[in-house]
Amino acid sequence: MNYDDPKLIDMLAAEYVVGTLHGRARARFTRLMQGSADVQKAVWRWERQLHPLAATLAPTPPPARVWSTIERRIRADSKSESQATDFWTPLKRWRLWGALSTAVAILLAVSLAVTPVPQAPAPDRIAQFSAADDQPLWLISANLTNGTLRARAINAQAAQLDRVHELWMLPESGPPRSLGLLPVGSEVRELTLPPGLVALLARASGLAISLEPAGGSPTGQPTGPVVYTAPLLSL
């Protein structure tokens, strides 16, 4: 099949959204979508057009047990996150000395993060965002093999009430690509990047953070001021 034909892509996208694309064809199309921004956009277009249909169904309140199960499941997940943040206490102590360079701090931070959690895959790209007074704010690490991106807030405060910090990758060429919204406090956010973004990240020169309206940039490009930038280091 010629997947460069926009009409064919559009029709497959429509069938994917309606649900009639199934079995192996659906799996194949899902892979195609993960590797191509154009295919992804065709799907989003149909989702925007067809999914409002669902608003016509009569609302049916789910039983209360649905929420209690969701709550239990997300609580179990966030517990493991807060345990992981303990590793950062030494880094905070360090800040008082204030003598070591950011690069050394990053390397030590990585060894601290990796050593006590042997099951976590070692990152191969890392960046640290610091405030003007060199206090670390966020540590970003990425594993290019499995595509995971981890953003750890070290001491980052929330932006203004209706503003959020959005993380951007600055690719070798082309416009910035969003890597999602950043956590605050001592939270950790981990996400799996689509292969297309991982490939760009492998050769990206740096990362940036902009202030965006709640929910993130409405345009897919930074709309607010860029408040921090950091080089992306290869390990």
Partner: protein, 186 residues
């Protein structure tokens, strides 16, 4: 908050709740759930007639929303559209797996009458453009597309349901979608 108010949660409220969810605000996540779950459960119930399966799909979808709230952006449509997307695909997955396991396909007795095309067209107040365009399709195109969409049926299952050969259903749905696209773009 009464259920009536919940249903009126507007886009900016949902956007705010989703942004807070991305920042791990559990109270905001609960409010997001309360404001959207009844509609989303209806979506899951239409695809999965078995209530406990629909509950599982809704649960999985919301756990996914908790973890992937940062994935949302304006190109995905409104927050409600995005949530509907997550719930529908989850429900379709569960339903396909279920049917592979049981290999027999249930009858249409439990189908929600609100998904019948004529009622559907009447109740589409919030998607005027889509409604107008759907109405321009032939009745049989409308019927096949809405069956597939609301109940997550495959071509083969739509063919069984309407008693028409699968090849005909395939081209009917494709032609219907093409016309729908042309109409929506004009």
């Amino acid at each position: 908050m009464t259920s009536h108010q919940n249903l009126l949660a507007d886009e900016s409220t949902l956007l705010d709740l989703l942004a807070k969810t991305a920042l791990r605000d559990r109270a905001a996540f609960k409010r997001l759930y309360d404001s959207t779950a009844p509609r989303l459960f209806a979506v899951a119930r239409n695809v999965l007639h078995e209530p406990t399966l629909a509950e599982d799909a809704l649960q999985d979808a919301f756990v996914q929303v908790w973890h992937r709230a940062t994935d949302y952006h304006a190109e995905r449509g409104t927050v409600m559209t995005w949530l509907t997307t997550i719930v529908r695909y989850r429900a379709i997955d569960v339903s396909r797996r279920q049917r592979r396991d049981t290999s027999s396909f249930g009858d249409s007795e439990t189908a929600d009458p609100s998904t019948e095309p004529d009622l559907l067209a009447e109740s589409l107040e919030h998607a005027t453009e889509l409604r107008d365009c759907l109405q321009r399709l032939s009745a049989s195109q409308q019927h096949s597309i809405t069956l597939a969409f609301f109940e997550g049926l495959t071509h083969e299952e739509v063919a069984q349901r309407v008693g028409t050969p699968m090849g005909t259903i395939k081209s009917r749905i494709r032609r219907g979608l093409s016309r729908l696209r042309e109409c929506l773009e004009s």
